[in-house]
């Protein structure tokens, strides 16, 4: 857990005082990622760097795991906080192994233990330890370097991590991949993370909570969905963008919206039987599956009217299927691409998992608008 209490930073310059952080109060619960978001110069990086005292606070308190950090000296404090920066900062004079072992060695770990840990961590991000341990940073691609930058911060297993635009310098394709990898890692490691970003999409994707900064103050601190659905003021609404509803599509997966009880039928089913199944469920179409439960086509009620024989002869091809774990943005994109109102979903093995339709998606979006508790608007409400 990280808690900031009235954290303030005033830079005294010859041309007057600059308030970079103005009585910042916030708490990041254990195991969550909190994104500090805002335009440049809003104080988000200052707030982050005060936590490991790269910038000494003017006033206020910082608690990590309930302990007041002002009791610790700088060196001790920093060795127990993982730190990742945008420029990665791998030391070019050290091999990958030496880079990862820096903090464990500073903490007087046994060499063997540190080296085992380095190999373990490389495997965790999908880099072959035997191949990469002895390489130098310049012999790795940018994406690989950034992965090493992240695991280097994890080396001594610190409970808390600070990340300063860690994926900012990577190309968009690799960024998505590394973000996904990182989220997967985090779901196991459960670190408490403060993460600076200026990219709302990244914030929505990575954050359990988002704190939006302006001029050293927190404008809103809430979950991504809350911020997108109920921006507290014009600045936040502006910052998250007019397409914020579309951004919310990323927060939901098909799994949460799809109709798992939509009627299905097999190819060898008689048309009369299929017609009865459809009539019972009041649906207008049924998904046709093969012997291994994979969706292969669909059949509509209109087509079956007055027809006989088996479903095989009347079935239409499915335009596309979507994985049930895909987020709604990907689902809607597929729907638009194929000009269809609905899509069949598949599980990890390609088996039928349900049907998702455009009305389902709009209903889901509306539900969060309608039901979201407006605590942000009315702090006095129970």
């Amino acid at each position: 857990m990280i808690r900031l209490e009235d954290l303030t930073k005033i830079f005294r310059t010859p041309s007057g005082d600059i308030v970079a952080a103005d009585r910042v109060n916030m708490e990041v619960p254990e195991g969550e990622i909190c994104i500090l978001l805002g335009p440049s110069g809003c104080g988000k990086t200052t707030a982050l760097k005060m936590i490991n005292r790269l910038i000494p606070p003017t006033s206020g308190k910082i608690f990590i795991g309930g302990k007041d950090t002002s009791q610790l000296n700088d060196i001790e404090l920093r060795r127990n906080i993982g730190y990742v920066i945008q420029q990665i900062g791998l030391f070019p004079n050290m091999t990958i192994e030496e880079n990862i072992c820096v903090v464990p060695r500073l903490l007087q770990w046994d060499i063997k233990r540190a080296k085992t840990r380095a190999a373990e961590l490389l495997d965790l991000v999908g880099l072959d330890a035997r191949q990469y341990l002895k390489r130098y940073p310049k012999e790795l691609s940018g994406g690989q370097q950034q992965r090493v930058g992240v695991i280097r911060a994890l080396a001594a297993d610190p409970p808390v991590m600070l990340m300063d635009e860690p994926f900012g310098a990577i190309d968009p394709i690799n960024r998505e991949i590394i973000q996904d990898e990182f989220l997967k890692m985090q779901s196991e490691l459960k670190k408490t993370i403060m993460f600076v970003s200026h990219d709302i999409d990244e914030a929505v994707k990575m954050g359990d909570k988002i704190a939006i900064f302006r001029a050293g103050k927190i404008e809103q601190y809430a979950s991504p969905d809350q911020i997108l659905a109920h921006p507290e003021n014009a600045f936040v609404a502006d910052f998250v963008g007019t397409d914020r509803t579309l951004k919310r599509l990323r927060l939901l997966t098909a799994e949460e919206v799809a109709d798992r009880n939509a009627p299905i039928t097999s190819r060898s089913t008689k048309v009369e039987d299929a017609r009865q199944v459809l009539a019972a469920s009041k649906a207008r179409f049924a998904v046709v599956i093969d012997g291994e439960n994979r969706p292969v086509g669909f059949i509509t009620a209109d087509e079956m009217r007055g027809a006989s024989g088996t479903v095989r002869e009347l079935a239409n091809r499915l335009p596309a299927t979507v994985p049930i774990r895909a987020d709604l943005r990907a689902v809607v994109s597929e729907m638009f691409a194929h000009d269809t109102m609905w899509l069949a979903c598949t599980d990890d093995n390609g088996r039928y998992a349900g049907v998702i339709s455009q009305p389902d998606v709009t209903t889901a979006l509306r539900a969060t608008y309608a039901s979201a508790p407006d605590a942000a608007h009315d702090p006095g409400a129970p």
């Binding site: 001790e76 030391f91 050290m94 911060a153």
Partner: protein, 240 residues
């Protein structure tokens, strides 16, 4: 490529051959044989001067460069470097002459003059090398909990090593080339054969001093080049 290499080889072969004819015709081999004892003795003296003054310059120059690069010195470092830069424009002969006026003749002024001449490139490169270590490396190191000492030894110096080494290499090249001047203030060395040869218009004697001096300069530079290639870790060595 192989063809041009072959051409080069043939050309250099002829060059060596022609040089050989000229050398034996000028009586150089005989004069070298004649002065052999002197050459050995003076080369030793020469090397003692080069090594002692060069070593002292490294010993003083690197720490001074480090000191100037510390954040606490930021205000003064540039002006101090300016003074040093002006210092480098003074010809080495003048430095040697000036040191004689203070320290008299013999080894001490020669040592001091050479020391001063090699000091400047070392300080300058150490200072510049440390300043070019990217700020984000220092930030990462600080953020990971290294102490200032640890940052200097584990991050800054290793990453500046190539530039520092280049400074030392330049300094030693200057040093070897300047050492013959030591003779002028009684410091000995191969300059004795060169300058005496010039005075006596004795080409053989002159070359008996000049050729070993040149060979020594080439050898020192070669050794330093090899050391630079092999001693500096792969990650920060642009040669590897």
């Amino acid at each position: 490529m192989t063809q041009s290499l072959g051409m080069g080889r043939i050309a250099s072969f002829f060059l060596v051959f022609a040089l050989g004819i000229w050398v034996s015709a000028s009586g150089l081999t005989e004069s070298i044989a004649m002065y052999w004892d002197d050459i050995v003795y003076l080369t030793k003296q020469h090397l003692v001067l080069v090594c002692s003054s060069g070593f002292a310059a490294i010993l003083i120059g690197v720490p001074v460069g480090v000191l100037l690069s510390r954040p606490s010195m930021e205000k003064y470092a540039e002006s101090i470097m300016q003074i040093f830069n002006v210092g480098t424009t003074i010809p080495t002969l003048a430095v040697v002459a000036l040191s004689m006026t203070i320290l008299g003749i013999g080894f001490p002024p020669a040592f001091f003059g050479l020391f001063v001449a090699s000091l400047l490139p070392i300080i300058r490169n150490t200072y510049a090398g440390l300043l070019t270590v990217p700020a984000h490396l220092k930030e990462a190191a600080t953020g990971m909990g290294m102490t200032r000492q640890q940052i200097l030894w584990r991050v800054e110096l290793p990453n500046a090593l190539y530039v520092i080494f280049s400074g030392i290499r330049t300094a030693l090249a200057i040093n070897v080339g300047t050492t013959p001047l030591a003779f002028l203030i009684g410091g000995g060395g191969l300059g004795e054969l060169i300058f005496t040869g010039i005075d006596l218009m004795d080409t053989g004697m002159l070359l008996a001093g000049a050729i070993p001096t040149a060979a020594l300069a080439v050898a020192v530079d070669f050794l330093m080049g090899q050391a630079q290639l092999r001693l500096i870790p792969k990650g920060v060595n642009p040669l590897r």
